[in-house]
């Protein structure tokens, strides 16, 4: 009974904290301070400073990593038993896992996936693993088709072959941030779980997101990944993992928006740039209007031989909208108007730049 009560209490605590937090927003801390009020340094300077940041507690972090070394034997043992290792806890676990793999798993081939990157082609990974395995099993593949021309299913079937010769033969796949942006899709996780359940494959993965377990259902957790969890906080800085995250104090401000807009515009065709210019000039000339009606834009663009039909204009507009260069809003009289979400000054500067 007391366990139940504890669970109830915990749940109550959750909801209470949540509502308290909501309340707090309404009353106490409503300072309404703006980022623009801060004296922010130039983006380049900020980036330079970020790249030069020193790590606090470096000595302790090294000691912490060293202390995990005594567990390497245990980790390798569990991998052999058919478990997947899932490392979690605050701090980058990249160095730790790679150190583990290169000291305790030398007998096995190890492939590392950097899950923190945006796009990962899993088929290439599986091909690499299949090649390692076939070398390991010393299979003669002359008559067979090369792995790169096989389907993913076939590759997985190859990796899931029955252990005839050696029971202790597998390829290990290390996945840094299995919860990373490039691997979060359900379909990708399903492929990974199928890969993990192959008899010749063992998996060591790390997660950093607090909600990472939501990626998996019970089938994946208990039968395919077969996780054995390890809490291994390292407090090591997320240097590589954080490379693609924007710096929060650099992305704000009008200057930044105009700069991004310019970069996007420069990559577009001259015609598209001219269409944008028409719209921008209109907005600068009529700063108080809701925006420019689509029909007006079309008429002007046609007159200037920028577009030949509504379809061409629409394709330009879609491009603009995709990059947040242009937005639509409803005019008071009901028709849709196009506008550029930049201030007049930023717009003028932008016009000068593309002009």
């Amino acid at each position: 009974m007391d366990v139940n009560e504890a669970v109830d209490e915990e749940e109550f605590g959750f909801s209470r904290n949540y509502f308290l937090a909501k309340e707090l927003r309404g009353s106490a801390k409503k300072s309404g301070g703006k980022l623009s009020d801060l004296k922010l340094v130039d983006e380049q300077e900020l980036r330079d400073a970020t790249s030069k940041l020193e790590t606090k507690h470096e000595k302790e972090i090294v000691a912490l990593m060293e202390s995990y070394k005594s567990q390497y034997y245990q980790w390798a043992f569990e991998l052999r038993c058919g478990f997947g290792l899932l490392m979690y806890g605050f701090g980058s676990k990249k160095a730790l896992i790679e150190d583990f793999a290169s000291t305790a798993l030398t007998e096995y081939g190890v492939v590392v996936i950097n899950g923190y990157l945006q796009s990962i082609n899993l088929k290439h990974v599986v091909i690499a693993m299949a090649e390692i395995l076939s070398d390991q099993l010393k299979l003669k593949r002359k008559s067979q088709q090369p792995f790169s021309s096989k389907s993913l299913d076939d590759l997985l079937i190859f990796l899931d072959g029955s252990h005839m010769k050696e029971s202790d033969c597998f390829v290990c796949v290390v996945i840094h941030n299995i919860d990373g942006p490039g691997l979060r899709e359900l379909e990708t996780q399903q492929i990974l779980s199928r890969l993990a359940s192959c008899s010749y494959v063992r998996i060591v993965a790390s997660i950093d997101h607090v909600n990472a377990p939501l990626l998996w259902d019970k089938k994946m957790v208990h039968t395919q990944f077969n996780w054995s969890w390890y809490h291994v906080p390292t407090f090591a800085p997320y240097k590589v993992e954080g490379v693609f995250f924007p710096l929060i104090l650099a992305s704000g401000g009008t200057a930044q928006n105009a700069k991004t807009a310019l970069i996007v515009l420069q990559s577009l065709t001259p015609n598209a740039q001219s269409v944008f210019k028409v719209l921008a000039e209109h907005q600068v000339a009529h700063p108080d209007e809701e925006g420019m009606p689509v029909n007006d834009l079309y008429t002007i663009c046609r007159e200037r031989f920028l577009v030949s039909s509504q379809i061409t204009l629409n394709s330009h507009l879609t491009e603009f909208k995709d990059h947040d260069l242009v937005k639509t809003r409803r005019h008071a009289d009901g028709q849709d108007c196009l506008y550029i979400p930049l201030t007049s000054e930023a717009l003028e500067k932008l016009l000068q730049e593309i002009g």
Binding site: E23, K34, I61, K69, E107
Partner: protein, 740 residues
């Protein structure tokens, strides 16, 4: 495309250039396997071990013991290998047993399904009998009457909310049907997804039936394969393990397609249904339902399966591995309150087993316990044990109660362990007797098991039994078990006195079987049986109602009842004495640590990681993990020396669900530029923060503070504890977690 390291020299992760390159590759080969060379491998691994242990366990040894230590570590490596082997053998035995148990539970349903498959196949064939051979072998579906297009469909009710348990069941079913000659394929809901449409399931069919991977998903390939004489005489069974998770329209399309072909391709569907009979009606449109000819089957419930596994694994054969009370309670609670799947139960037992063999230095001895005559094995191994290991064995906590005169030799260790095996055997027999009695009260085996394994309950039971004995000696009118409320075991003992005669006979019969190994007990059970028999004979067996009613009024009936009461008392007393003498939990026996896994915390943390809580704890109590001297003394006060992200997350706790970036930055800045001597605590008034600006150390430039702020925000973003500002609220980030 594939970057690879040189095969013979794995790149150390520390080499910076290679690392930087690899860090931005989607994937890379860290190293290829270094071929095993026994001459090279052993010293190398021993060396690794040595290095590791020296770094972590130096405090345990003096430097002068260095040589000894190295020897020990080399030995250790050898024993590690032995433990790995022991685990392999023991776990494979347990696994095989579990599989057999699960198959045994389902075998009746499987047979039923097989008979139905054969009957359905015969029905299809009889319809097909009306067609001529040209029609049967033509490579396209026939236009026939709708009644002939019915697909026989077995709906297997799994009684499971989670389908993960059923995967194994349906695999077993598939093997069973294959062994009976049927052609079987297993499809899952992944084959019926809207994205890939019907072609995915046809591909799956072809891949599994015909074993080809065609370019086009064409059912005619299957038809021509089936027309081959080897294949023609058996039904095609398609098992879909989780019907409710399939995409309805794809499944219905699949059914419509099969119905066209059913005469030529006698496909029989078997679909797992987790909910109710309405499930197909909810999922499928009427036009598809129309073609189904359903038949119902039901599998056992997860609780039944669990009971069977527990009986076989924990109580049955001796596997040389056991679990302690706390682990048993954890297993039960995890199953009942959290998970409810047998799959995760099995996984938990496996983790427990693996952890035991990793952690317990002497666990390699367990391997010998599988044999009937384990003493010789143990003796051989224990005598050869190095001194340090023997010392370790005798310093186990369970050996405290050991007789002081016991010599600390390999022989006494071996006999100690064989004693455990013997005790466990008797324990299991008596537990089965107890459980058989508990079955009459519909008690779950795990509940009784947990109590039987509890060493504390064992001790209190001893004292209670003495009290009960005293009460019985004093007076018969008082219920002697009234003081024992809450104990399952005493409830069972008490209920034995209330059993009807027939059930008592049954119980004694089962006891007779279970007590075969314990001669003394067996004798007593037999005695009781003969006593019961003579009672019955004296009273003319089961007295019929008329005689009974006559006797009811007479004095002799009262006597009979009293005599009968004596038999019941004796049965209850027998059970009680069995429990007292033999149901000694394994945790009360010396050396039990060698075969018994007790560390529930390790098990729990390996089974269910709790990233949401633990990552927050890491951040809020970073000094406890880092064990640095600079931050530990601060207590709850934020110190500038603390990890930046840790400071930021602690500051975030003071905000509501939205954090104003401006304020947060100011707070952060004032925390990290504050001189240590002036640290007051985290609750500080805004005015004092402003003042701190003036005493900002020079080396902490604006850019540096902002960079540290940015990095901390990125790290919090990676952990998912923050949501970034959106366009509507550009100056706020959102907190995600509230409380641990």
């Amino acid at each position: 495309m594939t970057p690879s390291a040189t095969p013979d020299s794995p790149l150390p992760p520390s080499s910076p250039t290679a690392n930087n390159e690899n860090n931005l590759q989607p994937f890379f080969v860290l190293h290829k396997p270094i071929p095993k060379k026994s001459s090279r491998k052993a010293p190398q691994s021993a060396k690794t071990r040595r290095k590791i242990d020296l770094s972590t366990e130096t405090h345990k040894f003096n430097k002068s013991e260095g040589v000894k230590q190295v020897e020990q570590i080399v030995d250790d490596h050898l024993y590690q290998q032995l433990r790995v082997e022991a685990f392999d053998i023991i776990w494979s035995k347990i696994e095989i047993t579990i599989k057999e148990v699960l198959r045994g539970i389902n075998i009746n349903v499987f047979n039923e399904i097989h008979q139905w498959v054969r009957k359905s196949f015969a029905a299809i064939r009889s319809t097909a009998g009306t067609l001529n051979s040209a029609q049967l072998t033509c490579p396209y579906p026939l236009t026939i009457d709708i009644d002939c297009k019915k697909i026989f469909t077995g709906l297997v009710f799994t009684k499971n909310v989670e389908f993960v348990d059923d995967l194994l069941t349906f695999n077993d079913l598939s093997l069973h049907l294959k062994s009976q000659g049927c052609h079987v394929v297993n499809l899952s809901s992944l084959d019926f997804s809207a994205k890939s449409g019907i072609s995915a399931c046809i591909w799956s069919l072809l891949r599994q039936f015909v074993m080809v991977d065609p370019d086009v998903a064409d059912i005619t390939i299957l038809a021509s394969w089936y027309n081959e004489p080897d294949n023609f005489n058996n039904p095609l069974v398609v098992i879909i393990d989780d019907m409710e998770r399939c995409n309805g329209s794809v499944l219905s399309e699949f059914i419509l397609m099969l119905s066209e072909w059913v005469i030529k391709l006698p496909v029989i569907l078997v679909m797992g249904v987790a909910t109710t009979i309405d499930a197909p009606r909810i999922l499928l449109p009427a036009r598809a339902l129309h073609y189904l000819e359903p038949c119902k089957f039901a599998l056992g419930s997860p609780a039944e399966r669990l009971d069977a596994i527990v009986e076989a694994v924990i109580l049955g054969t001796n596997f040389g591995f056991d679990i302690g009370y706390k682990v048993a309670v954890f297993l039960r609670n995890y199953f009942l309150r959290q998970d409810g799947t047998v799959t995760s139960f099995i996984k938990t037992v496996k983790i427990a087993c693996a952890k035991h063999f990793v952690k317990e230095p002497l666990s390699f001895l367990c391997r010998g316990l599988l044999d009937e005559d384990c003493h010789d094995f143990l003796l051989q191994k224990c005598v050869l044990l190095p001194e340090s290991m023997r010392e370790y064995a005798f310093s186990l906590p369970s050996c405290e109660g050991l007789d002081k005169t016991t010599p600390l030799t390999g022989e006494s260790l071996a006999s100690g362990i064989s004693e455990i095996v013997k005790l466990k055997k008797n324990w299991s027999s008596v537990f089965m007797c107890l459980y058989e009695a508990a079955k009459f009260q519909k008690k779950q085996v795990v509940d009784v098991l947990c109590e039987a394994l509890d060493p504390d309950a064992y001790r209190t039971r001893g004292s209670l039994q003495r009290r009960v004995g005293e009460v019985i000696a004093k007076s018969h009118s008082v219920d002697p078990y009234s003081a024992t409320k809450g104990s399952f075991i005493f409830q069972v003992i008490r209920k034995v006195r209330d059993l009807p005669m027939k059930q008592l006979c049954q119980l004694l019969q089962v006891w007779e079987k279970h007590s075969e190994e314990i001669a003394e007990l067996h004798e007593k059970v037999k005695e009781l049986q003969s006593l019961l028999k003579s009672e019955e004979e004296n009273n003319g067996g089961q007295a019929d109602v008329a005689v009974l009613s006559k006797r009811l009024a007479t004095r002799s009936y009262m006597n009979i009842q009293r005599d009968k009461g004596k038999v019941y008392d004796k049965a209850a007393l027998l059970l009680e004495s069995m429990i007292r003498d033999y149901l000694k939990p394994i945790e009360c026996v010396p050396f039990h640590e060698i075969i018994c896994f007790k560390d529930v915390d390790i098990l729990q943390s390996a089974l269910v990681g709790d990233p949401r809580r633990m990552i927050q704890v890491d951040l809020l109590k970073s000094h406890k993990v880092l064990l640095c001297s600079c931050c530990t003394k601060g207590g709850n006060v934020l110190l500038p020396s603390m990890h930046d992200t840790s400071i930021m997350y602690t500051l975030a706790q003071e905000h509501g669900d939205l954090i104003n970036l401006h304020d947060w930055f100011k707070n952060f800045k004032s925390t990290i530029v504050r001189p240590c001597t002036n640290a007051k605590g985290k609750m500080r008034s805004p005015s004092s923060k402003k003042r701190k600006h003036s005493i900002e150390p020079e080396d902490l430039t604006d850019a540096l503070v902002q960079a540290r702020f940015c990095r901390a925000v990125i790290e919090l973003q990676i952990t998912g504890l923050l949501k970034m500002p959106n366009k509507r609220r550009p100056d706020y980030v959102q907190r995600v977690a509230f409380g641990l």
